[in-house]
C-alpha cells in the first residue's frame, strides 16, 4: 500500500521519493561491484548481462541481478515491493533492470516523455478512482550515491496529466517551479511515471560519479514486449536468481507462489 501522502504527491507531480529504503551496507556492495564492472571489457560479461558504453555518454550495465546477489536483494527490497505492488494493484512485474555511472564528462539526458493530451498508450495507463492509483508502467530509480542539488533527476511536475504540448524551449536545467530537480541520498529511490516529462541532468560533482539503478515495472497481467530477447524473463538463466525474482520477471498466469509470500503484506484491497 501507499501512504496517503505518497498517493497525493504522485497524483499531483508524477513522482515521489522514498527515503532510506536500501540498507547502507548493500548500497556499498553495489557501488563497489559497479566500479569493478566499469573496468571490465564488454566481452567479460556473461549473458544476460551486457553493457553499453557510448563515448561522451553515461556508462550503462544491464541485468546486474544476474551478476551479483545484492541487486537481487534490491529488486526484492520490501519498500520497493510495497510501492510496485500497490501501483500495479497487486500484480507487479519487473521488466527492465539497468544501472549507469555518470562522470562529469558525460552528457545529461534531455527531457523526454510527457503527456500532451489526446490518447494515452495502453501500456502507459494512469488511473485514479476512489482515492486509489493504478499505474501500468512506472520507473523506479535507486540512487547509490548522495546526489547534490542541481544534479541528477529532473522533471516537469504534473506533466503526466498534461493536456497540451510542452514548449520546446524548456530544458532540464530550468529552475522551479517549471522544472523540479530532486536531490536524493544514497539508498533513496524516486518513483516516477513515464508520462512525467523527465531528464537526467549532467553530473557536476567531481568527488564521485552519479550511480543509479533503474528498475522499470509493468502490470503483470498485461502483454509486453515478450518477444524481445533483451527483455525479462531469461528462462535459460532462471536458476541464477531466486524463484520469487523469476516470478517477478514473468507475466502473471497464476504461478506466483514464492513472490506472493513476499508481496502479500503489501497488497491493496481491490473490488472483485
Amino acid at each position: 500500500m501507499l501512504t496517503q501522502e505518497e498517493k497525493w504527491y504522485l497524483d499531483l507531480l508524477g513522482y515521489f521519493v522514498v527515503r532510506d529504503a536500501v540498507p547502507k551496507a548493500d548500497v556499498e556492495v553495489m557501488k563497489a561491484q559497479m566500479f569493478e564492472w566499469y573496468e571490465w571489457d564488454a566481452s567479460d560479461f556473461k549473458p544476460p548481462m551486457r553493457i553499453n558504453a557510448p563515448e561522451g555518454k553515461p556508462w550503462w550495465v544491464y541485468n546486474m541481478h544476474y551478476g551479483h546477489e545484492a541487486f537481487q536483494r534490491l529488486i526484492l527490497n520490501p519498500e520497493i515491493l510495497r510501492v510496485s505492488t500497490a501501483l500495479t494493484w497487486n500484480y507487479p512485474r519487473i521488466f527492465d533492470v539497468v544501472a549507469n555511472i555518470c562522470y562529469p564528462d558525460a552528457d545529461g539526458l534531455e527531457l523526454h516523455g510527457g503527456h500532451k493530451g489526446w490518447f494515452r498508450s495502453p501500456h502507459h495507463q494512469y488511473q485514479v478512482a476512489n482515492d486509489e492509483i493504478f499505474a501500468s508502467f512506472f520507473n523506479l530509480s535507486v540512487s547509490l550515491v548522495d546526489v547534490p542539488p542541481g544534479n541528477g533527476f529532473a522533471c516537469i511536475p504534473g506533466s503526466h496529466k498534461s493536456e497540451f504540448q510542452y514548449p520546446e524551449h524548456i530544458t532540464m536545467d530550468d529552475p522551479p517551479p517549471v522544472v523540479h530537480n530532486i536531490p536524493v541520498n544514497a539508498g533513496d529511490f524516486i518513483v516516477f511515471l513515464p508520462n512525467t516529462r523527465h531528464a537526467g541532468r549532467r553530473w557536476h560533482y567531481d568527488a564521485y560519479p552519479r550511480m543509479t539503478v533503474f528498475l522499470r515495472w509493468v502490470y503483470a497481467k498485461q502483454f509486453h514486449h515478450v518477444d524481445s530477447s533483451w527483455c525479462l524473463p531469461f528462462d535459460a538463466h532462471k536458476d541464477e536468481i531466486p524463484e520469487a525474482l523469476h516470478e517477478l520477471e514473468s507475466r502473471d498466469h497464476g504461478q506466483r507462489k514464492a513472490l506472493n509470500k513476499l508481496i502479500n503484506p503489501f497488497k491493496v484491497d481491490i473490488p472483485e
Partner: protein, 290 residues
Amino acid sequence: MLIRGEDSAINLPSTLTEEEKWHYDLFGYLVLQQVVSPAEIERMLEIASGWFADPKAAPEPVNVTQDEYSGVLNNVQYGDRIFERLSVNEKVMRVVMGLMWNRPRLFNCALVLQKQRPIPEGEKERLHRDTSGFDFPDGFYNPHNDYQAGNGQIYSNYVNTAITLVDVPKNNGFMCIPGTHKSLIKLPTTLDIDNEWAPAITFELKAGDCLIFSSRLMHGAKFWKEDYPRRVVFNRYQFSFYFNENYNLPIEAHRDRISADQYELESVQRSEKGFAKRILKKLEDGEELC
C-alpha cells in the same frame, strides 16, 4: 442531425497562446506582467488609503471593513472608474476569456489590505480552495468550480485574478501548490504548509503584475513581512451563462457608477459580450490591448 447554434463554443478560437494553455493546464495559474501603469497604481493606492483612513468618504456601495492588521474594500469598482478598469483590463480579459470560452462574468471585486502582524507561536499559514461556501465531499467537485481541457481548449469556469498594487518579495503574498486544480487524490490529513508533501510556492511580483488562477488551485497568503502593507485587487470571474451563484453584482441601485462595459461584465448573459467582441476584433486586427 443535430443543429448547433452559431455561438457554439466548440469552434471558438482561443485567445490564449499555446504556451499559456500548457502552463495553466499544468500548474493552474498564469502570471501577466505589468498590466497596469505605475501612474494608475499610484492613484489607486491614494484612493484606497483615503477610504481606509475615512470609511465614510467611500461612496456607496463600496463597503469598507478593517481591523488593526487587515482591511477589505468590497465593490471597489463602484467607487472609482480607475478600479473598474482593472476588472475590464483587456490584457487580463484576454486570458480570462480564453479560460471560459469568451464568456466571463465578474461576480466579486475587492481590494484587500494585509499588514505585518505579530504571529502567535504555532500559528501557520493555511491553504484553501474557493468553495463558494459549500465544501463538496471528497471524490466530488463543485460544478461551479470546474476544470476541463479538450480539443485544444480549456474550460475553467471560475477564475480568480489578483492584481498587486505593491511590489511583493518572494515568501510574501500569494502562495499556492501548483497542479492542485487537477488533484484527484484526497488531501492527506497530515499535510501542513511546512510539510515536505506540500510543495507550496510564492511569487516575486512587481506592482502592476497580475496572477490568474483557478479557484480549484490550493492557495492562500503568506504572512506579510514587509514594512508597507500588501494591497491587491481580486476579481473573481465565472462562466457567464450557466449560473449566478453570487447575486450582488451588478448592483442595480448604483448602476450609474459603472460603465456599460462593466455592467455587462457583471451580468449573466449567454452570448458574447460587447467588450469581448471588441477584444476579439482587436486580436484579429493585431491591435495592442490596453
